[in-house]
Symmetry: C2
Subunit: 341 residues, 2 copies
Amino acid sequence: MRKRIGNRTLYFPSRPSVNGFYSVVGEKESQGPLKDWFDLSIGEGHFGEDSWEKAESKLIESASLGAIEQAGLKNEQIQCFFGGDLMNQCISTNYALRTLQIPFLGLYGACSTMAESLLMGSVCVDGGFCDHALCATSSHFCSAERQFRFPLEYGGQRPPTAQWTVTGSGACVLSLQGDGPYITYATPGKVVDAGITDLNNMGAAMAPAACDTLLAFFEDTGTSPSNYDMILTGDLGNVGKKLLHGLLRDNGIEAIDNLEDCGCLIFDDEAQDTHAGGSGCGCSASVLNSYIFKKMRNKELKKILFLATGALMSPTSSLQGETIPAIAHLLQIEAERSQPQ
Amino acid sequence: MRKRIGNRTLYFPSRPSVNGFYSVVGEKESQGPLKDWFDLSIGEGHFGEDSWEKAESKLIESASLGAIEQAGLKNEQIQCFFGGDLMNQCISTNYALRTLQIPFLGLYGACSTMAESLLMGSVCVDGGFCDHALCATSSHFCSAERQFRFPLEYGGQRPPTAQWTVTGSGACVLSLQGDGPYITYATPGKVVDAGITDLNNMGAAMAPAACDTLLAFFEDTGTSPSNYDMILTGDLGNVGKKLLHGLLRDNGIEAIDNLEDCGCLIFDDEAQDTHAGGSGCGCSASVLNSYIFKKMRNKELKKILFLATGALMSPTSSLQGETIPAIAHLLQIEAERSQPQ
């Protein structure tokens, strides 16, 4: 069976199925527009731990355990865990795996990690290497702010283009057999660097990467935006989403009315003062593994593209004058089991 | 074809082949016992760049280009790049991919990354998702010291258990067809935390993870150390290697005389004052993609196990009092194309 389409797209004839999914979010997220869709809110950000980093680790551990339970499985039945986070050396995920005890392949894709984990999980399941894979990622507003920007106590002003890192985690179990939603295609991203240096404008840095991957996928598969109920980006936010519309238009793709962004969906920017919207690995992970997969389960959404974008700089590279490279990984997800072609 | 053996081991019936490999190292490495085996020495550590981080990025870019050329391919024929490094947010690899322009799946496995990239590359090639995958990683003594320990200018004393981060990178192209060496099995690691807190004793933190993965592989495949010409760990160093001998003995595996470690091979500890040996992603990457693969090409080594170990802490987790979790991923590599079972 052909598993490669066009230049860059991978095809999954065995239809890896999302058999369990779970989302855990912080207080602010649990008060936003999607509050009724999340599985668990941790309230105040410490989640019973004595540091934000440990709290974040507990977020991804809890989301993973929730997804495994939803899939009706036990930890020892999960044969590979694909995941990572934004922390230096991905400590949130690494420490969670200490108790989860699942064979672990650590990923770093910044905020694209949820899509990267689904891509790798699908490759592993469809390739016949495992029956059940876990895909997960997390972020935490407080641990991310102090690592990437300023100590919270400093109270730095946030410009209008700044986004608010989501405190949250989402996880799902991909299995060889199941009732869906099903992963049918994936397009891995290339690094795209548009020359942006403003660490408070991630949307601008990431939109060109989203455009690049989307165009590659449409070309490889001969599809167009109208073939989908929704084209869902991870955390472009209001600024990046507008830029993506413009970039697609420049490439001959006019007026897409089904473009949504997890960062725009998760917060009420005006009421919650989140400026350009949500961001972070946990943003797309928590929205996909709640609102989106639930709407796919009840067939309100039948066929979507999910593409999570990541900004691949570090504070060190920025201090050394580097621009921000970005990447976007894409998945086609279908509510009903289509026949392999 | 069955692609899963026992509890944890993946099997690759199509025999992904290492069609090109390349190593680039720093000055100290180019003066060590393996000096005649490396492809390129960069001399003084800046490699023409104005920061160590940028030099490290150029290391992995150069090794990748070398491997692609050795395989007789062009960048655009490589369909997936699997790699990462030790830097916060893996910037060495991320920035290298800006110019390489290959679809990129970023990994974080600390010093286990070379093995993790070979595992993921083999899954992708054997699964039918790509014809050519690139696997690479890097480390740099100067960028690692200042990120994980102290500024070099501080001149901190190094205890006898400390290892010396290798300045180097290694890369290889895995292809569906070729003349080998061939990847035939892989066992992904689980996180093992032996309770070590000393950041200057990575060998002790990682040896239990190596033992865990080795035992799982032997059990899954019904093999034993005597089935291999060499069992090669990544960077346990002298201390960790001794501990691994002891741990294996405790588990009924006596007196292995074919256990080698890239960290012990790359430096002359006495003459080069490297204490417990080499470490870092670039250690196993540069040794495997030179000395080892060359000895496999000329059939001096016919069948080996390569397992790279990683210590998954960060300076932040250590400051918060956490112990050091570790992981080890294993590959069986064969010089000659064995028949699929």
